[in-house]
């Protein structure tokens, strides 16, 4: 036993030593780094360490006094129990009863807590889906929520009620009940049936989302959205309705998406600062990524798909409510749809947003007319395309950008 003590002590010593070493060494390592990189910055000067230490000590003292309190209560209970034992009285505190009652109490408070969560936090959630397929998802969600909530409540009532009612008693013996095949079959088959229903519905919904038959009268609007650290680039298809080819090898400072303007369909493509979508018209988003994986997430439309470098992915959906309609419905004049990134992608992951606007068809038509083209005069030159007829100003501007970009453009030329 004594040796065990030694090792145990050693372990605690090592533990404390390690943690102090960890704190100090990491600070050392970084102080070296900091002084190497930032010379002007002396963080120590900024903070009044006294106040810090005081507050740390203050909280530690509170915690320690709480521990002391626990220890004293523990002792008191022990003394009390020992005296009862010496006097030959029955055990003072029936801990089985205490714990059983706590479970019962937990059940009651927990049920209320769940109710509170469902109603209070439950009312802070996303509004109803603003897309056709999103409504189906919402329906499925509600069905799943109802089923799981019933199971959740029922099993918890059983669990804690059994804990309460079947607490230990020396007078009783448990009921020897090793198995019952019928019951076991029932509770294998019942969840299987429920899950089959859910799977079937889920499967059909899933299929309706990803296997769309194209309606020639209502062709989807193509929009390409490309992610990079930590921004989204948007490309509208232009007059031909088709987003042209891209080739990452063509990427330059002037052609940030590496659009291949050899492809005629690219030449009329337009850029935009915001994602504008006409209401009630299907839109097919073409997704791609320049650097790492990001995720194109439009929570209000129940749309999410990763953007993967080297892979084109597609999501087709139909917005059903304009931003304006949503503002009225939610009584929130500042409401906006958002696009966010939901796949960890680096330090700016938390702030990779774009505004999304759903507008009427007329507003959209008006807006899209004003969006500039990706193809500008520099790029025309780079791709040996005839420079457009826009006079005077253009060549001047072109001159200095090409100068600056020529380094990047030229080496690419052979690979085209």
């Amino acid at each position: 036993m004594s040796l065990i003590k030694v090792i145990g002590n050693k372990k605690t010593v090592v533990l404390t030593a390690l943690s102090t070493a960890f704190a100090s060494a990491s600070v050392f390592a970084q102080e070296a780094a900091v002084s190497a990189t930032t010379t002007a910055n002396t963080p120590e000067a900024k903070v009044d360490m006294d106040a810090v230490y005081k507050s740390v000590i203050f909280y530690s003292l509170i915690f320690l006094s709480f521990c002391l309190f626990v220890a004293i209560v523990g002792r008191a209970i022990k003394v009390y129990e020992l005296t009862r034992e010496v006097q030959g009285k029955p055990a003072a505190i029936n801990w089985n009863k205490v714990n059983a009652s706590l479970f019962a109490l937990f059940l009651l408070i927990g049920l209320y807590g769940v109710y509170w969560e469902y109603t209070v936090h439950g009312s802070m959630l996303l509004p109803d889906a603003s897309s056709e397929h999103g409504r189906k998802i919402d329906e499925m969600f509600n069905l799943t929520l109802i089923i799981t909530t019933i199971v959740f409540i029922a099993t918890h009532i059983a669990l804690f009620a059994f804990a309460y009612f079947y607490k230990h008693s020396a007078k009783r013996k448990a009921y020897f009940y090793p198995h019952n095949n019928t019951i076991e079959k029932i509770w294998t088959i019942a969840p299987a049936l429920v899950l089959t229903v859910l799977v079937l519905m889920g499967f059909l919904t899933w299929r309706s989302i990803f296997y769309k038959t194209e309606d020639p009268n209502n062709k989807a609007l193509q929009v390409e959205v490309i992610s990079e650290q930590f921004a989204w680039q948007i490309r509208y298809p232009g007059a031909d309705g088709i987003v042209g080819d891209r080739n990452y090898k063509l990427t330059t400072g002037a052609n940030v998406l590496g659009i291949d303007f050899k492809d005629k369909r690219s030449r009329d493509d337009q850029m935009a600062d915001e994602l504008w979508l006409p209401v009630n018209k299907p839109v097919k988003v073409i997704l791609g990524s320049k650097d790492v994986i990001h995720s194109f997430y439009l929570p209000h439309f129940r749309v999410q798909l990763n953007t993967v470098p080297g892979m084109r992915t597609y999501f087709e959906f139909t917005p059903t409510a304009t931003t304006q309609q949503m503002r009225e419905k939610l009584n929130d004049p500042s409401f906006e749809y958002v696009l966010l990134c939901s796949k960890i992608c680096g330090q700016g992951h938390y702030n990779m947003q774009k505004r999304v606007r759903v507008v009427t068809e007329e507003e959209y038509a008006e807006w899209i007319k004003q969006q500039p083209q990706w193809l500008n005069d520099d790029l025309r030159k780079a791709f040996n395309l005839p420079v457009s007829a826009t006079p005077a100003a253009a060549p001047a501007a072109a001159a200095d950008t090409t100068a600056q970009d020529s380094m990047k453009v030229n080496p690419q030329a052979p690979t085209i």
Binding site: L159, A174, P178, G258, Q353
Partner: protein
């Protein structure tokens, strides 16, 4: 108990049994499974405390994104300049927190501890099949821990691409600072860790298959053993795939290959890699990753089956169903990995298939839950701390399993993937349920490990504080996810719609701090009781399994003299007709004539005949005398 007997039986098994044990061979490079189990446990606890500390750091950031905490700078230096954690260090914190918790605490700390401790003791073996490999397994694990922690001392910081380390983010130092040398250390650590798991797993499987004592056929094994057995198989079949993936990632990072990389441009800098696919990593990772989550939960389920049965004083309900559902989970967990990839853009047809397999796996999970409930029904429940934690496990398993049904539905996952809903799901079912299983195991087998008892009242305090705070922390997180708040966000202040959750974040952080402080009750209890706890009696919980027949003081080889023979299953609790409410596995039926049931003889006609004769002579009545 003659000493000669010890040496006799020792001889054929352990030639080294005669060597003099030094401090080094007994405590450090020990080959005794009980000591190795303790090494795993204590290392696991230390790693858990570290990972918990990391989580408190990032919870502080989430709760008070605008406040400055100068003590953070004292601790973390430039990673928290001005007392505020930086975005890339925030990512490093969540990454290392996740990695440590999943792999080092809930895999090595849980399986390593209890498989090592219980397999030889519960199947009746003197040690593991290969004690030496077992020792190596611990030391590989230890090195993995040291290297992982070492990444905090690297200038560019630890890996920060999330615990799933998806390339290209994890492959390119340019993408995030943590993907520099920190990531290399992460990969090395993982390889060592997998080696450790494999050595452990091979040992567990071969010990269970080959070294069971006389009478211990598979259907007489306690449920923890079944769970450890299937867990080890899962690990052996899936961990090598992770290593394959890791090696390819190492190549991509250091030797210019393109397994996971293609078409990558940073700003205007075009990388030369071509032809790879980042999705390949996800397939390889989740082929391990999903079985991994069951590697984490199955031992916890096994432990709680045992604990619940012992403390409810009832046989576990549906022993066979429990085993079959474990087998079902084992098999199915190899074909569901795609549910982590519904929205990667993989072929939607695959999404449909993986949805079906995923929801099927919920069936055996449900069966297990119902069987736990049925075991409690009409029991005679003793609320030991272990029992409290086992009941807590059942509650968390239900809550987290039910949210799995949302996520497993590909259509619903479109909007839930990578949101806080997923965070809530796996923290309930893994972060809470599996940890509770582990704690149940610690409280239950502590007397076996250290020969002393833990303080029960501190255990109650520990349980209630932890149980309550875990629900307070994780329940509200579901709602953030349902509001579309993505996970791994450094602050919520940049998006208008997330601001309303700031108060919830503060609340959750306080609950997390409460939960973390509650662990002090455990740590104190654990380390103090090693030296000062009450001495453990032979069989403190009046349990049936074999480990309680070994002497309290450990000895190499476990049993002095013969290894006991097993005659019955481990769950004869409260059997009618028997005077006590438990019958250890080592009691032959001939000593329990008054309580034997026809079913007990498994069709052995001779035995049945003897029993019938005995029954005829001893009409059912009160005058039955105790048999021993």
């Amino acid at each position: 108990m003659s000493t000669i007997a010890i040496h006799d039986t020792h001889h054929d098994h352990h030639d080294h049994g005669h060597h003099k044990e030094t401090f080094l061979t007994k405590y450090i490079f020990s080959q005794d499974h009980k000591m190795i189990a303790k090494q795993f446990l204590i290392t696991g606890i230390i790693m858990a405390v570290i990972a918990m500390g990391l989580s408190i750091l990032f919870r502080i950031q989430l709760a008070w994104p605008d406040k400055s905490f100068p003590f953070l700078e004292t601790f973390l230096g430039k990673w928290a300049e001005g007392g505020r954690i930086k975005p890339d260090f925030y990512l490093a914190l969540v990454t290392i927190h996740g990695t440590i918790m999943v792999f080092f605490v809930l895999t090595a700390g849980l399986s390593g501890t209890f498989s090592n401790l219980l397999i030889p003791l519960q199947v009746g073996a003197r040690d593991m099949a290969s004690p030496f490999l077992n020792m190596l397994s611990y030391w590989f694990f230890f090195m993995a821990c040291v290297i992982m922690m070492g990444s905090f001392f690297v200038q560019t910081g630890p890996a920060s691409a999330g615990w799933t380390v998806y390339p290209p983010l994890s492959a390119l130092p340019k993408a995030v600072t943590g993907s520099g040398f920190g990531m290399t250390l992460w990969l090395i650590s993982m390889v060592l860790f997998v080696a450790s798991s494999l050595m452990g797993g091979i040992n567990y499987v071969s010990t269970i298959l080959n070294m069971r004592t006389k009478g211990m056929d598979l259907w007489k094994m306690p449920l923890p053993i079944w769970a450890f057995f299937l867990t080890a198989i899962l690990g052996i079949l899936s961990f090598p795939v992770l290593v394959a993936g890791v090696v390819l990632l190492v190549f991509d990072r250091s030797f210019g290959t393109s397994f996971y990389l293609s078409d990558i441009v940073f700003g205007t800098q075009i990388l030369p890699n071509e032809g790879g696919s980042p999705i390949l990593w996800q397939h390889l990772f989740w082929f391990l990753g999903h079985p991994e989550v069951y590697i984490v939960i199955m031992p916890a389920l096994g432990i709680s089956s045992e604990v619940i049965s012992v403390n409810a004083r009832k046989p576990i309900f549906g022993y066979h169903a429990m085993v079959y559902s474990l087998i079902g989970i084992t098999v199915l967990s190899f074909i569901v990995w795609g549910h982590h990839m519904f929205v990667t853009g993989m072929n939607p047809l695959l999404g449909g298939v993986f949805m079906i397999t995923t929801l099927i796996i919920a069936v055996p999970s449900a069966v297990k839950t119902f069987n736990y409930l049925a075991t409690l029904w009409r029991g005679n429940i003793r609320f030991t701390p272990a029992m409290l934690f086992a009941i807590g496990l059942v509650s968390f398993f239900i809550s987290g399993g039910l949210t799995g049904i949302f996520l497993g539905n590909a259509s619903l996952d479109i909007n839930l993937h990578d949101t806080y809903f997923v965070v809530a799901h796996f923290h309930l079912v893994m972060g809470s349920a599996a940890i509770f299983g582990m704690l149940a195991g610690v409280y239950h087998w502590y007397p076996k490990m250290f020969g002393r008892m833990m303080n029960a009242k501190l255990g109650y305090l520990h349980f209630w504080l932890t149980f309550i705070s875990a629900y307070l922390v994780f329940f509200p997180l579901h709602f953030l996810g349902l509001d579309g708040v993505p996970r791994r966000y450094y602050v919520f202040t940049e998006f208008e719609f997330m601001r309303k959750w700031l108060t919830v974040n503060t609340f959750v952080t306080w609950a997390a701090i409460l939960g973390a402080l509650a662990q002090v009750a455990f740590l104190w209890n654990f380390f103090y009781s090693i030296f000062k706890g009450k001495r453990a009696p032979q069989n403190p919980w009046e349990a049936n399994t074999l480990e309680w027949t070994t002497p309290v003081e450990h000895l190499h080889g476990n049993w002095p003299g013969e290894i006991p023979t097993v005659y019955r299953w481990p769950y004869d609790y409260s059997k009618p007709g028997h005077d006590e409410d438990f019958i250890p596995q080592t009691i032959p039926f001939s000593q329990t004539m008054s309580s034997n049931l026809p079913h007990d003889f498994e069709g052995n006609e001779e035995a049945e005949r003897i029993q019938r004769e005995w029954d005829a002579q001893n009409p059912p009545a009160e005058q039955r005398t105790p048999q021993h």
